[in-house]
């Protein structure tokens, strides 16, 4: 079974960002880009499924301008077998991403698509669900545990535990399916130096939205981006009695 893992290049999670003066977006205070942490968890899960022999080939895919390719090198270093880059200079909103991924999933006849539950830049949390809709596949979002049930070989099923607001929910579904990874699904491994060097020499397959038959029409326009309201610097209290007194008389919350 082939597995498709979408990986996104984002500002590293540890780098602070600030809103640009012209309100057009945000900028990072340090030039450090990384693979979106949830994508990394999805890829790690794919590698583990391959190690358990459920998966024959891991296809890592990213989308965007030429500069995003380093995330594919990282994916190859972590264990992806092939790297695909859908080259597009246009802004890609989640619906466009889902359409492009759906086209690739069909073309490559993948049996499972594993994605991060959200990207930590736009925090949309939509792409996996939309990909599942476009392919008309079942979905399991916010996965914290994934098992493959092969008791009926012609009808392999995924058994997925999901982190939902009330606790945990377990669903099972026939493959192909879309699964999105939550934080506690696994802890991704580090790329070893030999693997990183090998990944540098590997080929990256390039595709275009045209070649996939997808027309990109953004439906949303970002009017402006603002900084959230600042909180006033608070005060230090010297002991518990003072804290309770202030909460009662000043803040009036007790």
């Amino acid at each position: 079974m082939k597995i498709l893992v979408a990986v996104k290049r984002v500002i590293d999670y540890a780098v602070p960002v600030r809103v640009k003066a012209d309100k057009s977006g945000v900028e990072a205070l340090l030039p450090k880009m990384s693979m979106n942490p949830f994508c990394e968890i999805a890829l790690e899960e794919a590698v583990r499924l391959k190690e358990k022999k459920f998966v024959s080939e891991i296809l890592a895919i990213t989308l965007g301008p030429a500069g995003v390719q380093d995330v594919l090198r990282h994916a190859l270093g972590l264990g992806a077998d092939r790297a695909l880059h859908v080259v597009s200079e246009q802004e890609l909103q989640p619906l466009a991403v889902a359409r492009l991924l759906a086209a690739v999933a069909k073309r490559e006849s993948v049996g499972l698509a594993l994605l991060g539950k959200q990207a930590i830049d736009d925090d949309s949390n939509q792409t996996g669900q939309m990909l599942a809709a476009l392919l008309d596949w079942p979905q399991a979002t916010f996965a914290s545990k994934v098992e493959i049930d092969t008791s009926v070989p012609s009808k392999m099923r995924a058994v997925v535990t999901r982190e939902v607001d009330g606790g945990l929910q377990t669903l099972s579904m026939e493959l192909p399916a879309v699964i999105t990874a939550d934080l506690r699904l696994n802890t991704p491994r580090f790329v070893s130096l030999p693997n990183a060097i090998k990944a540098k020499k590997r080929q990256i397959e390039q595709l275009s939205p045209d070649s996939l038959g997808v027309e990109i029409v953004p439906q949303l326009r970002t009017v402006e981006v603002n900084a959230p309201p600042l909180r006033n610097a608070g005060t230090r209290v010297s002991n518990v009695a003072e804290l309770v007194e202030r909460l009662h008389n000043e803040a009036r919350v007790l």
Partner: protein, 325 residues
Amino acid sequence: MRSLVLVEHKNERVEPVTRNTIKAAQILGYEITALIVGDRVEKVAKEVAETLAVSKVLVAKHSFLCHQLSEQVAQLLKSIVKRDSYSHVWAPGSTYGKNILPRAAASLNVQPVSDVVQVVDKDTFVRPIYAGNALATVQYISQEGPRVLTVRPSAFPVSESGPCSSKADILYVQDELLSELAESSTRFEGETVSKSGRPELGSAKIVVCGGRALKSAKNFQMLDSLADVLGGAVGASRAAVDAGFVPNNLQVGQTGKVVAPDLYIGVGISGAIQHLAGMKDSKTIVAINTDPEAPIFQVADYGLVQDLFTAIPAFEEEIKKLQRA
């Protein structure tokens, strides 16, 4: 112009986040229809019709809808939106809404907007990006298709609900529409629901959050006890959840629950960006930490540098004193 709100419920009662969602939808002033999907939903339908500000209640009731699986609910939403041409489709930005709404949106060929925190006009909405470090104002430029939106519940506070002035009509979705729903191979296998007698984390007026500094699951009982005295809920940082002190559904942060109570008390929490994204809109923030340099002090209204193991029992005593006075 009319709005459809997907009701989040647990068969017995409406989830509070539904009320926040209706509050957001009301801003546009259009007629609101509430959609309830499930199996034994008569009680929920009655509650919605009698206590929520909606003009119509639409009920899709069928045994195969009892677990509200995304495949069927999204398909049903699509059919109803197309049939009745709603201009706006809303759901809570909870794991429930986020699981279903994007799926429905894609099948309607619509790019949805997640986590709306402000409704500017019928096409324009504000949403947080980069873990709440920026607020993006986005506008639909396409003329066609409904606007599909999930709502950040904490951004639309609601007062205690009483009965509505007028009862909404309850209509049932016809069997024809339900029988059209394609079968899905997805099966519900089970769930582990964490129960506590405390208020729900997302809507509690007071939230006490603990971090890794609590050191063990047992020590979290100190926070349970404090929360009970205050009538509040207990939450936790990602570090505390990852360490196994508390279950995942207590996590407050960018990827957990976003809370905005009147009073947030962070105990032994350093204040990683990830956690701050989930609580920094609280009205009053208290931080108790031994490390005076902890980033949480930068957003705290009241900071106390003290060991939590002495501060928390003393805090509880002081509050009891206050309550007796």
